[in-house]
Amino acid sequence: AEKTKVAAIYTLPVEQQWISRIHKALNTAAERGDIDYTFSENVANTDYERVMREYAEQGQQLIIGEVFGLERAARKVAKDYTDTAFLMGSSFGPVGPNFSVFDNWIHEPSYLTGMVAGSMTETNVIGMIGGYAIPEVNRLMHAFMDGARDVNPDVKFIVNFIDSWYDPPKAKESAFAMIDAGADIMYAERFGVSDAAVERGVKAIGNVIDTAGDYPGTILASAIWHMEATVDKAVAHVSGGSFEAADYGQYSFMAFGGGSMVLDESLVPADVASAVKAREVEILDGLFRVNVNDARPSSDN
Amino acid sequence: MNSQKILALNGLSKTFGSVIANHNVSLDLYRGEVLALLGENGAGKTTLMNMIFGHYMPDSGSVDIEDTSGAFVPLSLGHPQAAIAAGIGMVHQHFTLAENLDALDNIMLGAERLNRLRRNKAAARGKVKDIMKESGLSAPLTVPVGQLTVGERQRVEILKALYRDVKILVLDEPTAVLTPQEADTLFGNIGKMTKNGLSVIFISHKLREVLAFSHRIAVLRHGAKVGEIATSQADERKIARMMVGSETEEHTRKLMPPGKPILCFEKVSVSGRSRRESLECIDLAVNECEILGIAGVSGNGQTALAGLISGMLRPNTGNIFVDGVAVKDVRPSVMVDAGVGRIPEDRHRDGIVGTMSVAENMIIECLDDQAVQRRGLLKWDTIQAQAEKMTVKYDVRGPGIEAPAQLLSGGNIQKLILARVFEAKPKLILANQPTRGLDMGAAADVAKRLLEARARGAGVVLISEDLDEILSLSDRIMVMNDGELTLAKTRDRAELGLLMAGDAE
């Protein structure tokens, strides 16, 4: 079959966690020979629409990206290029005929990592550092907090947003502040948090990517996002001519292999691990539903 | 003093653009001698000294100096280091002090190696103290120089030069900012040091001290050396004549009865940054149909006086009346509106905006006139026509009225300014050094215009260093010295020269 032409547009460099997942999935598809993949990184907000249109004009069949903060413009472009399929990370819904959305719906594994953290904290204080308080961040944090509270009702959270997607030194300082305030487990939504945890000898919970190798002995568990399921589905639809506006969010669910939880058996006691595994099975079997809460989380006091 | 030559200048010439600052000047200096260098403002004294010291590169000529072994060697020109190494020290006309440093640091600057981690300030302080004792010059060593008085700063400058173990000391107007007593002490001490073999060249406009303290006098005029004379054979009259040159013909100037006062100063004081920029309690009156000449060596308060009349400076106390009306808010535009035409001293700095066109410079003083603008927009056709007319009328020659004014020659820039000033039919004209740097023709033109304005009934304040100009144009002459104005009762050059040097008996 002919290769599908796919272009991706990222507002940040490809090193950024969130984007790196999409980038990785697309690279995998390209290596497999399914698609021709090209991308633009660090595209300024102002330029985003131009790049979208450029790719559409170039005849790219599927355009993937993230349009948080650009929702209106992106939908306008999609309307102008109905022959092109758009699959965009977005907080809003799909728009016909060709604008589909996805999101990192990994609240399920986040819940599971919360259970790990809740069981293992000794100070009963958990620090959480996020970029901005947007739905995709908030809901993961809430799922994590729910998981922790379910196993340990006494646990308290300190929450902070650094108002940047990409300022590791700042995230690190913020983490230090929380560790100083008593946190012994850090929820590492941003780069820099785990570094602080390593330096202070506390534990951390990973998010979106698996950084256990970078911080040996520190990452208890991670909620990992796999874009492969989403990307492959979309590519299949495009090449089959059956692409329509749809919400691809579900392909990030654990049931579709879009999300998973890894934990470090050497750090997590066996009883905790088995409790978590049990809950994982329940989720996969549809016996347990993790709550979705998009509101801004705040510290307990 | 002995007759052993230690420095020889051989045919030094230097031009700046079209200005010939020095032309083929040769001069010798002997051991233990105090040589005075005299000349009017702009005669080229400073330039000559700067060439010895390596600040300026001569266009031609050479300098020879005695080296440590006693042999005569050419001095490498254009390098202050070479001059310093050869034992030449220079005290510049304008202070070269870092005001954020104390005197000791200023003195040590450059005398110590920069790659050392430690400085021996104690040793340096001891040496400076010795020099102070020997020379009689003293200044506070630990206070930032910015807080010292000008007199103290001047002494620091001299100490700085002496600190480098000089054989030859060049002093460019060292006493300009000193009181007579301070000057006497300074020269007394320099006299002592020459006994130990120091040779000194000093520049001064004060004939009294030249006669009292030098051994020999050299005079420059228009960049060339016009003569040398042993001080023992000189008197003030002789030197003054050498400096200002032979008498020239006066302009044919109709005598006119002066009209009513057009400009009055009533006890006007200005305090500038230094004494040279200050005026104290000046009274002045200029009448219609009269040219008042202000003679004097520049730097005696002329700038402040001109600043007041042109509106650039505000008086601290006192009143200024133009045509009988007190000017309350002294500023340039108010002065222009009151009918004062101003020919600035520095025509490049204050007279024109060089990058703007000739036509624009013609109208820059009357921008609010309905003649040149309507509702904020320039009436370009009128302006151009007017500019064309004026360039013809005032003979401004150049690449045209659309060309940037900076392309004009100095004389033509001055004509542009004259055109602007005289077309406004001012009641009072301030002409500050109006012919400086102009050739004969252009200078004559300026004189003609000033006389025409006088004939029309205007009053003129003419500030000039050129005594010929003052004598030939002025109805009355006042002499400016050290911030004070005195009415000259004589028109004798030599006596005026004495007044200018502050030696009125």
């Binding site: 907000n45 330029d47 450029e54 903060g69 | 590169m57 204050d350 024109i352 990058t355 921008l367 392309l407």
Partner: protein, 358 residues
């Protein structure tokens, strides 16, 4: 020994030729980084060209990017003409954008004929205030405006972040730090179907032409040029230096504010803290490249936008890092700086003439 002396005269060829030459040289210099990244040079330049002139869309995109640069370039050029170093166009842009959002997102639900002028006026006032304050600090206290305007950029950006998380925050924005959208009737009309190019460009061009005309033909322009070229002579001629400086500051700030208005009400529709990828700073490059002439600003903005859009598109086509575009823009600034020097000064070889003395 070599000495540097000012040129007595500069020909038209010098004044116009040298910026053009510098721009060309800076483009040629881009081949160095291209070589490093292993892209074929010829094809790269072709792709660059195609990225700007290859299609109506590409061309319109370039003009869209040039629009804010014309505004900020004009803002900087006018201020610099008066020797007022406005480094704060970036902050003033955001002030303008904030004002546009403050009046344009629903407080006044009036027809577009009223709302659009209202947005523009408020944007200009806000931008002008942003430049008037540092200018006042300069004339009254002697505080260097370079530093104050630079620092104000950060203060304004922090203030913006506060506003976006508080008063301006879009209740429908799902937590994103962004403002509510400008009302539909408040948006500057687009110029072409399916393209982003909007009437902000027309306003920018009108501003440039007006500025050019006012500089050359108005009393204000003459005063502004005079205080910039020679403040001393201007003061001597009776021009009120501080007052003229303040007027230049106000116009400059207003133009920068218009850049914000045009981006918010012309392009994006709402305000985020990354509205401008440094348009204020690039405005300085544009203004210098233009030799501080308003019409030159239009040309320079188009040049910079072309380089940026072209290099950006080329980097996409050739697989070269897109940071190349910024690199070319910065080299062109340095080239123009040196070029400007060559235009104003000449190097003179000083030969010490040794006269033969007998």
């Amino acid at each position: 020994m070599i000495r540097i002396e000012p040129r007595q005269s500069s020909s038209a060829l010098m004044t116009y030729g040298i910026p053009v030459l510098s721009a060309i040289i800076s483009l040629l210099l881009a081949s160095i980084p291209l070589t490093f990244s292993g892209a074929p040079i010829g094809a790269s330049y072709f792709e660059m060209f195609k990225g700007v002139f290859g299609s109506k869309f590409a061309f319109s995109e370039m003009l869209t990017r040039a629009t804010p640069l014309i505004f900020t370039g004009l803002a900087v050029a006018l201020a610099f003409r008066a020797r007022l170093w406005n480094i704060g166009a970036e902050g003033q842009l955001y002030l303008g954008a904030m004002a546009a959002v403050a009046v344009g997102t629903g407080v006044f639900d009036v027809p577009g004929v009223i709302l659009i002028p209202m947005i523009m006026v408020m944007g200009c006032v806000a931008g002008a205030t942003g430049m008037a304050v540092p200018t006042l600090l300069k004339t009254k206290f002697g505080a260097d405006e370079v530093v104050t305007t630079l620092l104000l950029n950060f203060i304004i950006l922090i203030f913006l972040q506060y506003m976006l998380e508080g008063p301006f925050k879009d209740p429908m924005g799902l937590g994103w730090p962004q403002s509510s959208p400008i009302l539909d009737q408040g948006m500057l009309p687009p110029l072409m179907d399916r393209m982003r190019i909007h009437s902000g460009l027309i306003i920018a061009l009108i501003c440039a032409i007006t500025a050019q005309f006012m500089l050359a033909r108005s009393v204000w322009g003459l005063k502004l040029r005079a205080i910039g070229e020679n403040p001393s002579a201007a003061r001597h001629a009776g021009i009120r230096v501080n007052r003229t400086l303040m007027s230049a500051a106000i116009i400059s700030g207003a133009l920068a504010g218009m850049a914000g208005v045009s981006e918010v009400a012309g392009l994006k529709g709402y305000l985020t803290s990354d509205l401008s990828p440094g348009f204020g700073y690039t405005g300085i490059v544009v203004a210098m490249l233009a030799g501080l002439s308003p019409l030159g600003v239009v040309a320079a903005a188009i040049f910079i936008a072309s380089v940026f859009v072209g290099a950006d598109s080329m980097s996409r086509a050739m697989g070269v890092s897109s940071y190349l575009a910024d690199l070319v823009v910065s080299t062109s600034l340095l080239c123009v700086l040196v070029g400007g020097f060559v235009a104003r000064f000449k190097f003179v070889r000083l030969i010490q003439k040794k006269e033969v003395t007998q």
